[in-house]
Structure formats: C-alpha cells, structure tokens
C-alpha cells in the first residue's frame, strides 16, 4: 500500500505571533519555521504503517511519500518528514499564500500521478487554522474521508477510523482509497535520530510547479486587514474566596 502525506511549513508553534503594525499580515521574517504539528503526526502514522507499530503490521505501507507545496525552503519540511521515515518527497514550488482550495487541487494532481491507496493529512495548519484541505481533496477526488482521527485500523480494502467529535468519539469505516486527517491524540511523533536525519539528506525530492497540474493559485479571498486580537484587560486580584463570591454577585454571574 502506498501512502501519501502532504506536509505544510508553518511558523514554529513555540514562537509568539507578531502582527505587522501596518495590518498587512503576520511578521514571519527571520523566524524559525517548522513542520505543522498535525502534519508531523500524519507522517508518524504513515511511517508506523510501514515499520509496524501503533497497531499496524510492519509492511502495511510499502512506500510513504511526503509532499509539500511552498517555497524552496519547504524542502526542509520534506526533509523533516524523510527523517521521520518517509521514503521520498515531492515539492510543488509556489510562492506566497496558497489557499486550501488551490492546495487541494494541486494534491489531486499529485495523487492522480502517484495513485496512493491512502492519504493522511493534518486536520488543520496552525497558521491559517482553516481545517479544509483534507475534506476538499476528498470531495475533488470523490473519495470518502475520516477527519479528526485518533485511531486508525487498516483492514484490507478499508480503514476503521475513530474520530474525535463533539461530545465523544465516533468510529467509521472508509473504503480505500480514502482521506484521513489527524487529531492530536493519534500518536506522539518520534524525535528523528541523527543517523536518520543524515539518511534523509540522501533521499530524493522531486520538484514540480502548480502549472504542471494546471492549477491557478491566485487567492480567491482578499485579506483586507490583519489585527492583534482585542486585549482583555486583566482584572483584580482578590484575597479570599469570600471576596471572590462578593465580586461575582456584583457582576451578576451567580
């Protein structure tokens, strides 16, 4: 079984987000960029399907391909996936903000060329928080989807996936080929070892362009303004539980 894992390069999740004073966007200059955490979980799951582990038999996946759409530096993100254990990479070189719809269209092109049996993506990227790409891709391909996965069991021509939904957990069966998107608790990604990081440098990365798939990446939405969130003024410190209850009464919430 061939597994394809799209990965996104985003601002490192440990870094503070700074909005540019002129409202034109978020300042990313000279800041550390990393693989989107949900994408990293997707890579880990695919690699476990190949190596065995996490409930998967070794060899369930025969090849894991990491794909990224972005600037030259997105190669680093692909190398990160290769260091976790993906076999090869595809970079679709594109500058600027590429919206989920365009990403899904490019991925559809990649998938038609590579013909994977399973595509695992992060449920959302921690920069635009859109939570769209996997679902859009599934619709464009006419494939079933299992989003927000916390457990995946492969069984022949189908996957049984437990999903984190409002109020609890839902388990569904999807016929392969299918799209799965990862939630946080699906697995805990490994730290790539130094030998694997070195090995990853030798793995092949194919470079393509959106035009190779006939996709126009012009954004559909216009960002008019980017602002800091409204600051919530800190309140007062109370000394005792009694004083707290008094304040809550005054505020009319109890």
């Amino acid at each position: 079984m061939k597994v394809l894992v799209p990965v996104k390069r985003v601002l490192d999740y440990n870094l503070k987000v700074r909005v540019k004073p002129d409202g034109s966007g978020v300042d990313l200059s000279n800041l550390k960029m990393s693989i989107n955490p949900f994408c990293e979980i997707a890579v880990e799951e695919a690699v476990r399907m190949k190596e065995g582990g996490g409930g998967h038999a070794a060899g369930a996946a025969t090849e894991v391909i990491a794909v990224s759409i972005g600037p030259d530096q997105a190669q680093e993100t692909i190398r990160n996936a290769l260091a976790i254990g993906a076999d090869r990479g595809i970079l679709v070189k594109a500058e600027g903000e590429i919206e989920p719809l365009a990403v899904a269209k490019i991925l559809k092109g990649v998938i038609e060329a590579e013909k994977p049996d399973l595509v695992i993506l992060g449920k959302q990227a921690i920069d635009d928080d859109a939570n769209q790409t996997g679902q859009m891709l599934a619709a464009l391909l006419g494939w079933p989807q299992a989003t927000f996965a916390s457990k995946i069991v492969l069984q022949g021509a189908k996957a049984t996936v437990t999903r984190e939904v409002d109020g609890g957990l839902q388990t569904i069966d999807v016929e392969l080929p299918a799209i799965i998107t990862t939630d946080l608790r699906l697995n805990e990604p490994r730290y790539a070892s130094l030998p694997n990081i070195m090995k990853a440098k030798k793995k092949p990365i194919d470079v393509k362009a959106p035009a190779d798939f006939g996709v126009d990446t012009t954004p559909r939405l216009k960002v008019v303004n980017t602002a800091e969130p409204g600051k919530r003024a800190g309140g007062v410190k109370v000394k005792t539980a009694g004083e707290l209850v008094g304040k809550l009464k005054e505020a009319g919430v109890i």
Binding site: G168, L169, G235, L248
Partner: protein
C-alpha cells in the same frame, strides 16, 4: 440574496448553535433558510421553524443522513446551492467535516471559523489560534462559511416558518458509520453552557480532577472543561478540552482552576464574560486576562469557595 444555514441538531431538537448561526446569516442581509438534514428529524425541523427571522425550513430525512456524514451532506447540499448565494455551517465537528466538501464541489474557497460579519461579503476570523484576527473580503459568486457560534447572539424564538421537504440523497456512500461513544452527563453541554469550571495540570490526577471540580460544577450548574495539558496527562477526557484545538467556549462565568493559561487555552475561553482564575503561581499568565484572580492553592481555595457560595445562597 438568499442564505442557507445548515442546522446543528440531534434529530429531536436543534442546538443553540443553529440559532446563533442564523444571527450571523441575518447580518449578511437577505433571506435566511435553515436546512435540517437528519433521520426522523421532524421534531428538529419543527423547532428550527420557530427561530426568529427564518424564511423557511428545508427538511431532508433519510437513513443516509442519520449521522450527518460529510459525503451525504455534500450530496444533499451541493445541488441545493443553485438557489442560494451562501451556505453557513456551525464550526462544530459536523460543520467542519462537511463544509469544505461543499466548497470544493462549488469551486469556492471557504471562510472558516467566522467570528464577525461586516456585511454580505466581509468576514472576520481568527488565525494563529486567535493570536491574529483577519478581515477577509469574499467576492466569490457562492460563499461557504463555518461560523463560530459563541461569537453571535442567539436569534429569538416565536416564528412559524413553513417546512418544505427535500429528498435525502440515496447513497450508498464509501464511508459508513460503525459506532459512537458519547460522554454521558447530566451537566450542560460544554460548548453552550452558561457556566464552565475548568481544570489544569495542577490537579495532578484524574481522581483529584473529579474530586475537586465535580462538586464545584454541580454547585454552579456548570459544565466541566480542561486545559490541553490536563487532557494530555489523562486527567480528563478529550472532549473536555477547551482551547484552539479543542472547544471554543464563551460562558457567562469561566472558572479556571490550576490552569496556567497557555495561549492555546486562552484562545478557547477568552471571550467568556467573567473569568475567574485560581492558581497558586502568582506569575501564571491566566491572571493577565482573569477578571478576578485568587492566588491560592486550589486544595484550600476550592473548598472555601464552595462554603462561601453556600453562604451566599448559591
């Protein structure tokens, strides 16, 4: 302009979120219809027809819609969009699951997690876990939005809109429901509760989490939430998680017990009307946004709070 709102419901009743998304739709101007897609969902359709400002309710009923799975909702909604300029879903797991499929089929870029509507084509949404807020203009001929219900007031009740039946998609679909495990609780639902009591990693164990928070939640008639740290440590189940990657809540009263206040948690609760923080670390970031901060060990502070609430007649 005509806007379709996809109802959040459990077949028997519509959730509060539906009425809030109707408010967002009304802010766009034009006619607002509500789609109730379910199985034996007549009661939910009747409830939706009562929401103030709804022109009519479309009711699609069938086995394929029993679990409101994304493939079936896509098949149902895409053809309906011939009659609408926009479709709005709640940013629930059901809405987030289905909306992008509809958008892709309409060849439209979706606007996710809308927290403000500034006219028919201008929307406000958070990015970077709420650390930045963008205003976007959507001039596409059809619009697909998911709406953060907590950002909008519920529309009133008392209308009696007509209910029109539409055919459910026939299927079969390549995804099939197997089972579900829903948390059972007599407490209000976290996402829509008026009061929330939330615990963090400081609670130290799942026994302690329940021992400390449940009586307080019962006393206040509150839902119980948790920080991601508490959930990851296994003190609380996944669906308790409040934050960027969990639930976004905006109750009248939010009581954070032993929560330090990581940005990702604050993103999920900072729109609460009154925030109370109880933490023994005076430097905890939660105090920067709390209306009332009590620097104290929860072990003594929570029992004292319970006593004082009793004294105050709560």
């Amino acid at each position: 302009m005509a806007v379709l709102v996809v109802a959040e419901h459990d077949n028997a009743s519509v959730k509060d979120a539906t009425s809030k998304v109707v408010s967002a739709a009304k802010a766009m101007g034009g006619d607002v219809d509500v789609l109730v897609a379910g199985s034996n969902a007549g009661a939910a359709a009747a409830a939706a027809a009562k929401i103030e400002g709804v022109r009519k309710v479309l009711h699609a009923d069938g086995a394929t819609l029993a679990k409101q799975m994304a493939e079936a909702l896509e098949a149902l909604i895409v053809p309906l969009m011939a009659n609408y300029d926009a479709v709005l879903f709640a940013a629930s797991t059901t809405g987030k699951n289905a909306a992008p499929r509809v958008a892709a089929k309409l060849d439209v870029m979706q606007v996710s997690g809308v927290i403000g509507v500034e006219g028919a084509d201008t929307f406000v949404r958070p990015i970077y876990a709420g650390n930045a807020i963008v205003t976007v203009k959507d001039e596409q001929p059809k619009k697909v939005l998911t709406v953060q219900p907590t950002a909008f007031k519920a529309a009133g009740e008392g209308a009696s809109a007509a209910i029109e039946t539409v055919a459910a998609p026939s299927g079969p679909f390549k995804a099939a429901f197997v089972s579900e495990e829903m948390a059972k609780s007599d407490r209000p639902e976290l996402a829509s509760a008026k009061r929330v009591v939330s615990g963090g990693r400081a609670l130290g164990s799942s026994e302690e989490f329940n021992r400390v928070l449940e009586p307080l939640a019962d006393k206040l008639g509150a839902a119980v939430g948790a920080s991601r740290a508490a959930v990851d440590a296994g003190y609380a189940p996944n669906d308790y998680q409040v934050g960027q990657t969990g639930k976004v809540v905006a109750p009248e009263l939010y009581v954070a017990v032993g929560i330090s206040g990581a940005i990702q948690h604050l993103a999920g609760m900072k729109d609460s009307k009154v925030i109370v923080a109880i933490n023994k670390d005076e430097e905890a970031p939660i105090f920067q946004i709390a209306d009332y901060g009590l620097v104290a060990d929860y072990k003594t502070a929570v029992p004292e709070l319970m006593d004082e609430l009793t004294k105050a007649g709560v």
